[in-house]
């Protein structure tokens, strides 16, 4: 029995530093009058994202004698938007998020997410605030910024906003992904492959790097850029080959949001996956009015990895999925 690996995957010293960083994050927001909130980990609806796989469980109890499916949140976004619509003002949350099918050097199916929303901010103002937080936590220099389009042109010599399927395939073939490219008919999948292999390794090496203005096809819950509707007001933050954050100038149009959820579900069906129930509470909150705001989700464990120079995510987790 002694051979059973019961020990934590992180050293106690790393856990101590983790506690300090969590305290630093809370202080950062307390100083700025951003309210800490907690929202449910279990909810009746979930995300429709094509590439997010949720866990579900069954609630049996009063009002649910025959069982009711509840989903573990992939992020606290929908519940936090309902708080915003209810007049919460600026809020943040340190929450566990759960994503099925994700495990590896930089992924654990259960991880800690820092998510916050700033009414009155656009995505640029929020990028600035995130930059300040990251500088404080990691003692690094200020972040650089580049548009998604510029990043592709600079590192792959390809304009992602005009490239067609065959151009994307050719670029993937040049990176050595011939077989994958030949069988891939989805432009966004190829863009993501090219980004992972052809852009990410070349950005954010010295200082964190914001990539913004993602293609409208990858808008997710971001507003489209009114000056160039080919792109969405979405950003991501990269540092030392780690994707640290994803943020939006938040979409507040319930009709557009519903249409995007439905489009997601059509893609899911086309890919042979079951559609997901669309969250009626979120749509009702958007209907009632989401204050203009920007929001961002940060992978806290990855921040910890950078702060502690850790090789793998499990080095900063008390227990990884392998011995959870």
């Amino acid at each position: 029995m002694n051979s059973l690996n019961w020990q934590p995957t992180a050293s106690i010293d790393n856990l101590r530093r983790r506690a300090q960083l969590l305290a630093d994050i809370r202080r950062f927001f307390a100083e700025r009058n951003v309210m800490e909130v907690e929202t449910p980990a279990l909810s009746q609806a979930t995300v429709t994202d094509e590439h997010l796989h949720c866990f579900s469980t069954e609630f049996i109890g009063p009002g649910a004698a025959n069982g009711k499916i509840l989903y573990l949140q992939t992020s606290p976004e929908y519940a936090m938007k309902r708080l915003l619509a209810a007049g919460s003002g600026a809020i943040y949350q340190l929450a566990k998020a759960y994503r099925n099918e994700e495990a590896g050097r930089f992924h654990n199916p259960e991880f800690t997410m820092l998510e916050w929303y700033r009414p009155g901010f656009d995505h640029f103002a929020l990028m600035q605030e995130l930059d300040e937080l990251v500088q404080q936590l990691l003692h690094c220099g200020p972040a650089t910024q580049i548009t998604y389009q510029q990043a592709f042109i600079q590192h792959l010599g390809l304009d992602p906003l005009i490239a067609d399927l065959s151009m994307l395939r050719n670029a993937a073939i040049q990176l050595g992904h011939g077989e994958l490219a030949a069988n891939e008919n989805d432009c966004d999948t190829l863009l993501q492959l090219l980004f992972c292999d052809g852009v990410e390794p070349h950005i954010g090496a010295e200082a964190p790097c914001f990539v913004y203005d993602f293609p409208a096809s990858q808008a997710s819950l971001a507003k489209l850029n009114p000056e160039d509707p080919r792109v969405a007001q979405r950003f991501e933050l990269y540092f030392k080959q780690l994707e640290l954050a994803n943020g939006f100038h938040e979409l507040d149009d319930p009709t557009e949001q519903k249409a995007r959820f439905e489009r997601d579900n059509q893609k899911r069906i086309a890919a042979g996956r079951p559609p997901r129930p669309i969250d009626p509470y979120l749509l009702a909150a958007l209907e009632a009015g989401l204050p203009p705001c920007a929001g961002v989700a940060v992978g806290v464990d990855r921040l910890m990895m950078l702060a502690m120079d850790a090789e793998q995510i499990k080095d900063v987790l008390s227990f990884s999925v392998d011995n959870a």
Binding site: E101, E179, T189, Q192
Partner: protein
């Protein structure tokens, strides 16, 4: 033949790629937060020995390769084939030059080696990490040199040539690391 999804990829799994059996060395999961997940897989092609990286979409499946490792004793070389025997079943197999390759120089009679079979036919022969072989030819060394500096070439009973310290003499048996081709020590007869 079985098919394996990327979730089943781990070091040691044998899969088919470009018509060649391959050994999975590493499997790294890569996923943009909102995007398609990929597996960046490091693979060794078992026939050419080439190591390469290949990216799969997570969830894709690949045909498994019917590859197995067998412990067998080396018997003899008939000029064209190297013959091996399973010490338990006494079954014999012959491997050709392509399978034995450079490792022929480490094969001493009765040594137990690993034969890697693909669809029942040997594709590689892996000698033990350490072999003990007799020196059949080397120049007499300078007396008194025990530091092992410099060294001299020595031809072993199997034809392999390794550098040995000056004090090691013809007729002695030495231990050699087959992975590096380096002399390790003298062996008491």
């Amino acid at each position: 033949m079985a098919f394996y999804s990327t979730n089943e990829f781990k070091a040691g799994l044998k899969i088919m790629l470009d018509g060649e059996p391959c050994n999975v060395l590493e499997n790294e999961y890569v996923k943009p937060g909102k995007g398609q997940a990929f597996n960046r897989v490091k693979i060794r092609k078992l026939i050419s020995g080439k190591v390469l990286e290949k990216t799969f979409k997570s969830g894709d499946t690949v045909e498994g390769a019917d590859v197995m490792d067998l412990e067998m004793a080396y018997l003899y070389n008939d000029g064209e084939f190297w013959h091996f025997m399973n010490n338990t079943s006494f079954e014999q197999l012959a491997a050709d030059k392509a399978a034995v390759g450079d490792n022929a120089k480490w094969l001493a009679e009765n040594d137990v080696v690993i034969l890697t079979l693909w669809n029942g036919a040997p594709i590689t022969v892996t000698p033990p990490n350490f072999v003990e072989l007799e020196i059949v030819e080397t120049d007499p060394g300078v007396k008194g040199d025990t530091a092992g500096t410099g060294g001299k070439p020595a031809t072993l009973s199997t034809g392999a040539v390794v550098r040995v310290p000056l004090f090691v003499q013809q007729g002695e048996v030495i231990k050699v690391d087959t992975r590096s081709g380096e002399y390790v020590s003298r062996v008491q007869k």
